[in-house]
């Protein structure tokens, strides 16, 4: 078991730009932690700093409370799976997997046993004799993960492990990665820019923006309680409604909104975050309740797992994700009643410029 912690890690590139600006990160032992953020936010740089492939300009990387400053990558036991796999092209899949045991000085039989075991765990044993050049993207990914697992790392670092893979291949690889901490006790840190992937893989999310952590916690916690408007947008909350706190409720273009959080001071501007999946259709003649809005359907479009409905409530557009059965018979122009539970409404500080009012 190994806990990975980054404290105020700064990586300054020679041209003066900052790859990381004081990143704090805590990856608990025996869990999967995902670094989530847009491209160029410093996720891979953080992973390389943990692996020891680059030395931070400032700050500390520690594993199990032991600072790793100046420690060579091979002594950290943090195996990394690269985005382009970096399989050794002159070695077969089984030799790739046996590389770690080999450089650790394991006996030949142990090398073979560990490599085969890791390949089997990754569902890639049938590829043992194949050369990397003959493998597909998914097969390479499996061999790369097996190679890392065969080295028995304390920490497994995965850089975009499911990128460029089709849906059929993602599911078994997801299961494999999720099972790694349980079966081997290895701490896993995953880098991804895909929200779905991060939620599916991780016990804990760290949201990274411009080289610093914006928010961290369990995936549901981040989704339901984003720290700010940027986090809310990045985490898929498409409905951000401008409002002002007044008398304990948030006054918005939808009307007064009850929230599940302590009210802000009167006059304080805020954005109400309404996740599309938290909005639901309510009966038109149902009892009066807070957070009910009457709107007009503007468009309906099918998605793989839901239907995307866009409705106008007054001048405010709302995006709603509904199960296909829930919108049976509705068409654009229909009037609908939308509702959201107060505990599903979350207010964050307003980062948008205020419109000048007459």
């Amino acid at each position: 078991m190994a806990r990975v912690a980054l404290e105020g890690v700064v990586v300054a590139w020679p041209d003066g730009t900052l790859g990381l600006r004081g990143l704090d990160l805590d990856a608990p032992s025996g869990q999967v932690t995902a670094l989530l953020g847009p491209s160029g936010s410093g996720k891979t740089t953080a992973l390389r700093a943990i692996a020891g492939l680059l030395e931070p300009s400032a700050g500390t990387v520690s594993i199990d409370g032991v600072p790793q400053d100046g420690l060579a990558p091979e002594r950290r036991r943090a195996a990394m799976v690269f985005q382009d796999h970096a399989l050794f092209p002159h070695l077969s899949a089984i030799e790739n997997a046996a590389f770690g045991p080999r450089v650790q000085g394991a006996a030949r039989r142990e090398q073979q046993a560990r490599a085969a075991s890791a390949l089997a765990a990754a569902g890639a044993l049938h590829l043992a004799a194949r050369q990397p050049a003959t493998l597909s993207g998914g097969e390479r990914q499996r061999v790369a993960i097996a190679r890392a697992l065969a080295s028995r790392p304390r920490v497994l670092l995965l850089d975009e492990p499911l990128a460029n893979l089709d849906a059929a291949l993602r599911q078994p690889l997801r299961a494999l990665i999720r099972d790694v901490p349980r079966t081997t006790g290895t701490t896993v840190v995953v880098v991804t820019h895909d929200l779905d992937e991060a939620c599916a893989l991780a016990d804990r999310l760290v949201l990274v923006r411009a080289g610093a952590a914006v928010q961290s916690g369990a995936p549901r916690e981040l989704l339901d309680r984003p720290a700010d408007a940027w986090a809310a947008r990045f985490l898929g909350a498409t409905n951000l409604i401008q409002g002002v706190w007044l008398g304990g409720t948030l006054q918005t273009g939808l009307g007064p909104l009850a929230t599940g959080q302590p009210a802000g001071a009167d006059g304080l501007r805020a954005l109400a975050v309404l996740r599309p999946e938290h909005l639901a259709l309510a009966p038109v003649d149902g009892p009066s309740a807070p957070n009910r809005f009457i709107g007009v359907v503007r468009s309906l479009s099918d998605r793989a797992h839901h239907v995307r409905l866009v409705a106008s409530v007054g001048a405010v557009p709302l995006v709603v994700h509904l199960p296909p059965r829930a919108i049976a018979g509705r068409v654009a122009g229909d009037e609908v009643v939308l509702a959201v539970a107060p505990e599903d409404v979350w207010a964050v500080p307003d980062d948008q410029p205020q419109v000048a009012q007459q």
Partner: protein
């Protein structure tokens, strides 16, 4: 069918040119060596039946045995030096500079981080210069390299002066002779210097974009040196072995370097062939031809051994791979099949938590790491010092390697402006621009010789493109049984020593009325230049991204229009690099210029050698710099074009 005819038509001109000049030259040499050609006539003899008399006479000559031994010694020693130094240089330069984060903070007065940026730019520029050094040395013509080393290594050269001031020697005579010495040390140094650059460039090319593998190996537990040994070297090994074969073949057949730097006796086979060919006694000409063909045979031996070694390396890797897989597919796989290990996706994936390796606790250097970490596996003590080498140490190694490549030019630059430079002065007591003024004087003939060199190289490059570009397109489109033989046919002129076909080629050119003329020299240069045009271009065409060409076809362009408007313009960088290469290969042809031009087509190389032979070192050094300028300029142009992209 039409496509096949098109390809044949594209390949025909290049095949015809090479058949006439290269094949014709070899055939003429073979016929002459067998006593079948009028060229081989001795006084009062007539051509008759084929005879091996020339070969028998050579076998009986003791000096031929000594020449063979000298050739083999030079080839083996210079190849060994070049391969070891070149591999080390390539490895030292493999990581692009300035990739690591900035460690030191800017001083407090540097509010805008200007110092840091300046440092970063300086580091990047130094790294680029170090990486460019091998390319520059590679572009130096062999005759020029011999001249440079003749000036550097001659008694009283800069190393001897430094040794004198260090108190190691009392006079230039205390330094063992390095030029014209019976051990060929000067010749070996010249070949090793150029060969080192050749190997370094090939190693760099084979390792480009492979830094990820070393990083992956490090995270799996390999040390810095271990990662190089297990991931980088295995990738570079076949290239290095092949380079060794090419270098052996080239040095075995090399003419100008032993002629200019080697002793008169014994002389290597190519020089002996040259002297026998120019012997007033025409009866020695069949032996000259036999010697030239013997040189080619020796070069072929080196290539065959290298090819066999590459095959053996591959076979060994395959055998080891199979053995490893066999061992693997015994116990663990059975266990996996019996259910002890299950494929991913199931609830129980693998065996339980892994035991930690029983490693000793190793305290890291107190100044760097603050806490112990478990050690993984064995460490090789011999490598540990190198393994600890910090990135700054690697930068220093790169800089040192770059300097080694460039240092020989320093005394050349000084000589070119020296009025006189007596031993043991470290710098000339008096300077003069006499050599430069003479070189730039239109009446002195140097400018005319420069123009002739440029004209020959330009004409050769143009002609090589005219027949080479269609041939490369035709070759790139081939996939059947003709592909390998045609590749070999186009590669052969680059591998066969010029002396082997040059002597016969002179007869071919004489019959065509081109001997001792500009056209003859350009035609002779075409033979070694064509492979350097056809083969790289055919590889580039095969690997090109066809999407743009297919898009042009879907927009209504025919194949030729797509080729003209899309393929060729999008390959501008490749074409520029290949043109620069062709130009430089032409400039490098000292022997063929002598043979085809008969001394009447005076190129810059010939004029420079005349000054060196006359002992005018400032003039020779000045002309060496003039010769270096086009190589450096073309390299810069090719690099710039490549950076800018199509």
């Amino acid at each position: 069918m039409a496509r096949r005819a098109e390809r044949a038509l594209a390949l025909a001109p290049a095949l015809l040119v090479l058949g006439l000049l290269f094949g014709g030259g070899l055939l003429a040499a073979l016929r002459a060596s067998l006593g079948l050609a009028p060229l081989a006539l001795g006084a009062g003899s007539m051509p008759g039946a084929a005879s091996l008399a020339a070969y028998r006479a050579l076998v009986a000559r003791p000096d031929a045995h000594r020449a063979l031994a000298a050739t083999a010694w030079v080839a083996i020693a210079s190849t060994a030096c070049a391969v070891s130094a070149g591999t080390a240089l390539g490895l030292a330069l493999r990581v692009p500079g300035a990739a690591a984060p900035r460690r030191s903070r800017s001083p407090s007065w540097d509010h805008y981080g200007l110092l840091g940026r300046f440092r970063a730019r300086a580091r990047t520029a130094a790294a680029m210069a170090a990486r460019g050094a091998p390319y520059l040395v590679l572009a130096v013509p062999y005759a020029l390299a011999a001249l440079v080393l003749a000036l550097v290594l001659a008694p009283g050269g800069l190393p001897a002066r430094l040794a004198y001031h260090a108190g190691w020697i009392a006079s230039p005579r205390d330094v063992p002779p390095l030029t014209h010495d019976p051990r060929f040390l000067g010749v070996i140094a010249a070949y090793a210097w150029k060969g080192m650059a050749f190997v370094a460039v090939l190693v760099l090319a084979s390792l480009s974009g492979r830094q990820g593998h070393e990083a992956a190996a490090r995270t799996l537990g390999a040390t810095r040196v271990g990662a190089i040994r297990r991931t980088t070297l295995p990738r570079a090994a076949p290239v290095v072995v092949l380079a060794a074969g090419l270098l052996f073949a080239f040095t075995a057949g090399g003419f100008e370097v032993p002629l200019l730097l080697g002793p008169r006796h014994p002389s290597p086979l190519p020089v002996m062939a040259w002297r026998a060919f120019h012997d007033p006694d025409l009866a020695t000409r069949p032996q000259a031809m036999a010697l030239a063909l013997g040189t080619a045979a020796l070069a072929a031996v080196g290539l065959v051994v290298a090819a066999a070694a590459v095959w053996a390396l591959g076979a060994l890797a395959r055998v080891r791979r199979r053995a490893f897989a066999r061992g693997t597919l015994a116990q663990p796989v059975r266990a996996a099949r019996e259910g002890a290990l299950r494929p991913a996706g199931n609830d129980e994936v693998a065996a339980g938590p892994w035991p930690q390796p029983p490693g000793r606790l190793e305290a890291p250097a107190a100044s760097r790491a603050r806490a112990p970490a478990p050690s993984l596996g064995r460490r090789r003590a011999g490598w540990s010092a190198m393994a600890r080498m910090a990135p700054s140490g690697r930068c220093l190694a790169s800089a040192g390697a770059g300097m080694l490549a460039v240092l020989p030019f320093v005394p050349i630059a000084i000589w070119s402006v020296a009025q006189r430079w007596p031993f043991p002065e470290l710098l000339p007591p008096a300077y003069s621009t006499r050599a430069w003024r003479y070189a730039l004087d239109p009446g002195a003939g140097v400018l005319a010789a420069s123009a002739t060199s440029a004209a020959v190289a330009s004409a050769t490059t143009l002609a090589a493109f005219a027949v080479g570009v269609p041939a490369s397109l035709g070759l790139a489109g081939l996939s059947g049984r003709w592909r390998r033989p045609l590749h070999a046919a186009f590669l052969a002129p680059a591998l066969v020593p010029p002396i082997a076909y040059g002597l016969g080629l002179q007869a071919v050119l004489a019959r065509a009325g081109l001997a001792d003329r500009f056209g003859g020299v350009a035609a002779a240069h075409l033979v070694p230049v064509l492979p350097y045009v056809i083969l790289p271009l055919s590889i580039a065409w095969r690997r090109r991204d066809r999407a743009a060409e297919e898009a042009a076809r879907t927009l209504g362009a025919g194949r030729l229009r797509a080729l003209w408007h899309v393929v060729l313009p999008s390959s501008r960088a490749t074409l520029a690099a290949v043109a620069a290469l062709a130009f430089l290969v032409s400039l490098d042809q000292y022997l063929l210029t002598l043979l085809a031009g008969g001394g009447r087509v005076r190129t810059l190389g010939l004029v420079t050698q005349a000054f060196l032979a006359a002992g005018d070192r400032p003039m020779a050094a000045t002309l060496a710099i003039v010769q270096l300028a086009p190589a450096a300029g073309l390299l810069w142009l090719a690099a710039r074009t490549a950076r800018r992209g199509p």
